[in-house]
Amino acid sequence: MTIKIVDSVFDPFLEIQDFQTQLALNGKFGATSIFIGTMRDFNEGDEVHAMTLEHYEGMTQKQLEKIITTAKDKWTILEALIVHRIGDILPSEPIVLIAIWSVHRADAFEACRYIMEELKSNAPFWKRETLSSHQTRWVLKNTGSK
């Protein structure tokens, strides 16, 4: 289980590759499920030029660990990786990566979805958008399970 909070652009595919190379799981896993969340250049009908992500250091890690632990109780997971951006972000940059390794696909698919939805609901991150008009606004709530 690895949780990384990063303040600069990351390549989700390199993160997966690096993590998987370090795993002592060769031959043991049959499924890897990944979710990558990427910044859009529009929201709520407005053009968005940039975004700043703030978090509650310490609590973020604690909540994410708790989410993974609960997922491990529900599904058979061999490994889990979460990478989440903070700081200033531009459209098309990745915001979040969830990757789950398991023996069979159902565990990987379901755990990945569960972890992402729980992160959206409970991990203390907040987005502030900068619109094309240079006006800034806080994102008031996350979308449901869309």
Binding site: E54, Y56, M59, K62, P124, F125, W126, W138, N142
Partner: protein, 77 residues
């Protein structure tokens, strides 16, 4: 005496104009009462509260040394 630290995040921090403060009280009170004592206004409906980085309900009683955080709904991911 009970001394706690209060933390505010995101839009709530901007509205309040500070990110943290220390509070000393004679007795334990609930986190809701902490808010009302400090701010003299009702706690906004959608505010989330954490004590020592764990979510708590509004009627949770504080202990000496607690880190109490108030923040708006989370919007990560």
């Amino acid at each position: 005496m009970i001394t706690i630290t209060l933390h505010y995040f995101a839009s709530l921090r901007e509205q309040i104009g500070r990110s943290q403060e220390t509070l000393t009280l004679a007795d334990s009170i609930t986190v809701l009462d902490v808010w009302q004592y400090v701010h003299q206004t009702p706690l906004p409906d959608n505010t989330l509260i954490a004590v020592n980085m764990e979510y708590v309900e509004r009627m949770h009683y504080i202990c000496d040394g607690d880190e109490v955080a108030f923040f708006p709904p989370v919007t990560g991911g």
